[in-house]
Amino acid sequence: MARAILCASAAEAVAGIPDGSVIMVGGFAARDAPSLLVGALVDQGARDLTLICNGPTGRPGMKDTSMLVHNRQVRKVVCSFPVPSTTSGPMTDFEAQYRAGEIQLELAPQGTLAERIRAGGAGIGGFYTPTGVGTPFGEGKEQRTIDGVDYVLEYPLVADYALIRAQTADSMGNLLYRMSSRNFNPIMAMAAKTTIVEVAEVVAAGSLNPEHIVTPGLFVHRIVVRPE
């Protein structure tokens, strides 16, 4: 039996996620979000979530993490891109809730966010990064000069669940990603107690070239196939 279990539906894949969970959601922009799983989590209804993602910037109707914010399931967001670059267009749900004091934000530089997630998956207790020194992103953080360079101390991020998206899984949970939809998915797969992946297809174990596998199956717990 593989560690990874093939689920019959997205509802089954997100079953049991309790209120108050810390959830990582892969994807960089709205277009490559794991929209099947996020949609299922909206239906499932878990509340009071801490959401770790690149940013819930989708406009209403977009199938990314903004759906969870819109449905008021999120207590706190840890991300690098909380709001769209431009203020044209309607205000996002996140921004409206943030301005109303209804949702918390921990804003992290994107590289620091990625490295914190990797550190969580790799068992690293903390690391020193030069990013953010002397800026609001270094404020209140421990600072240290190492070999003449200034760094701030950052701590790992871990999650109860990661919802990610890949192109192909084999039955052992090994994953391949298509082009730039790889982004945060592989590191989030490492950093969650339970990693749930939506894929375009599942193939038999042994049919992927082992040198091409990006996420080894030992990081993957539940798989669901995206109906296309």
Partner: protein, 221 residues
């Protein structure tokens, strides 16, 4: 009568001329991203997009998009021959580890000591840092592409940034619609100005004192 300022395309062309054959370069969204359109033939520059693309190519023709291939602005792109896909941890290891020769970034304010503020206008209250803080800190040379002043005529090149910072002491050169200004340990050096602009006219739009380079000249492409 106000003198002509350079169009954005010309700023992008001027920066493209600054990049070296063989360079790996990150381009910010907006004006910086236009630089990729003006790399002269015979010069190979590979563009890094922080969402994990090394070797970003031109936009695809409509209907010929490559599935799941976007740049950091979320736009469909192509991949140059010899391009590679990496995950986010590796993408920022490239950035933080100083493996990029240069980055071209937008700017809201640049201070005379090289401080860069480019992620939030204080009056907005909430902003997106994205990869800017890592890139501004990590790339070997930081080129800022921006208008020389705000629409209201306020200084953007300042003695000290009043906006929240992206990174401290990182800017190498500022490319604006009126000038090319290098940040040096001795302060700002005016290297080039738009056709017809005198150093005094550039200084009038610039808060810190500019030193005029001995090789000061008109911007050439």
């Amino acid at each position: 009568m106000p003198k002509d300022r350079l169009p954005r395309e010309v700023i992008a062309m001027r920066i493209a001329a600054e990049l070296k054959d063989g360079d790996y370069v990150n381009l910010g969204i907006g004006l910086p991203n236009m630089v990729s359109n003006y790399i002269p033939p015979g010069k190979q520059v590979m563009f890094h997009a922080e969402n994990g693309v090394v070797g970003v190519g031109p936009s695809p023709e409509e209907g010929r998009e490559i599935p799941d291939l976007f740049n950091a602005g979320g736009q469909p792109v192509t991949l140059m021959p010899g391009g590679a896909i990496v995950d986010h941890a590796m993408s920022f290891a490239i950035v933080r580890g100083r493996h990029l020769d240069a980055a071209v970034l937008g700017g809201l304010q640049v201070a005379e000591n090289g401080d860069l503020a480019n992620w939030i206008r204080p009056d907005r209250g909430v902003g997106s840092i994205g990869g800017a803080a890592d890139i501004a800190r990590g790339a070997k040379r930081i080129f800022v592409a921006m208008e020389h002043t705000t629409r209201d005529g306020e200084f953007k090149i300042v003695k000290r940034c009043s906006y929240p910072l992206t990174a401290t002491r990182v800017v190498d050169t500022i490319f604006t619609d009126v000038a090319v200004i290098r940040v040096t340990p001795q302060g700002l050096v005016l290297e080039e100005a738009a056709p017809g602009w005198t150093p005094e006219e550039v200084q009038a739009l610039t808060e810190p004192t500019l030193t005029v380079s001995p090789t000061f000249k008109e911007i050439q492409l």
